[in-house]
């Protein structure tokens, strides 16, 4: 906690969706880019790779053959997300950001990371599902807003209204 005392920790959760990329860019623009090189927060970018079996959502005789492919695909996606996030950080000259990839359910992972690093702020994008989809799929941003032990920023990509 030696370095953590001076700078509060900010955790940003990313997945492969546009909204979370937008959330990361928004965060960097708002809180990091104008203050280079002396950033007011310590940045930690987290990607939660879904578990291959849970991502499939069905169980059946064919699952054993499909799992390795799905797993490889998920790893590939995770690598792409990590690269993209690093690229965004570089393009905004934000150095010193830590990136970690975890496997499992995004909600639990983000809350655990917040606890582990005693983060003061968690930033997540929002898929902007409607009420019914939220009830069925669940919403990571909702869960984090209620259960994380720190303040949460939910960044929504603005829809261009005509």
């Amino acid at each position: 906690m030696a370095t953590g005392d001076e700078k509060p920790v900010m955790v940003v959760g990313v997945d492969e969706s546009e909204q979370s990329i937008y959330a990361l860019e928004w965060t960097l623009d708002r809180f990091f880019a104008p203050y280079a090189p002396n950033f007011p927060f310590k940045l930690l970018i987290i990607h939660a790779k879904p578990n291959a079996v849970s991502a499939l959502g069905f169980a059946g005789p064919g699952i054993v053959e499909v799992v390795p492919h799905v797993d490889a695909d998920l790893k590939h996606t995770a690598a792409k997300v990590v690269d993209k996030a690093k690229g965004i950080c570089e393009s905004k000259s934000v150095h010193g950001a830590m990136m970690e990839v975890f496997e499992g359910d995004a909600r639990n992972i983000l809350c655990e990371v917040v606890d582990k690093h005693h983060a003061s702020l968690l930033v997540v994008g929002s898929h902007g599902h409607g009420a019914i989809k939220r009830a069925v799929i669940g919403s990571v941003s909702d869960y984090c807003a209620h259960h994380a032990h720190c303040s949460v920023i939910i960044v929504k990509k603005p829809k261009i209204k005509l």
Partner: protein
Amino acid sequence: MADNHATAALKTSTVEKQPETTEAEAPRVMTRTKRMMVAIDESDSSFYALQWVIDHFSDLLMTTETAEAEGDLLTVVHVQSQFYHFAAFPAGPGGATAVYASTAMIESVKKAQQEASAALLSRALQMCRAKQIRAETLVLEGDAKDMICQAVEQMHVDLLVVGSRGLGKIKRAFLGSVSDYCAQHASCPILIVRPPKEITK
């Protein structure tokens, strides 16, 4: 009146075009005027949220020269609940009858509400001034959720800050949660500040 409508329409169309062009030209450059809005009510958690914002974002909000040029602005908004102009009192075994409240009563309630919000807002302003933050206050009347989301749209807020009472799931479903509603419906990013329960800072 027609003029007003025309100019209003023009204004909204030009303003809405701006975000499109900025996104098209330089997706990295966001509008420099950062406007943060903090919603306050009588609860402690909303004042804690204001304090949290002041503490953590003091770099962003302090009135240094650069901030003045960029136009960082903290808006503190308080939404007064509407006072219905009639109240239903059960008149007796016959059932409920609606009794129109006398004007004197309405006046005194309104005055009490105004004094209460003035007290809240002056407390908020004091907190801001202590850290040299440029702040403005705003009082709205109506349903908190809707008014806050409307204000966000009209004033082009960059970040909305709300406290959270830490209601459980069931209470949220019944009592409704302003922070929940705003998180889903506000057109800007929202910061939900959680009160420290047993969290040691």
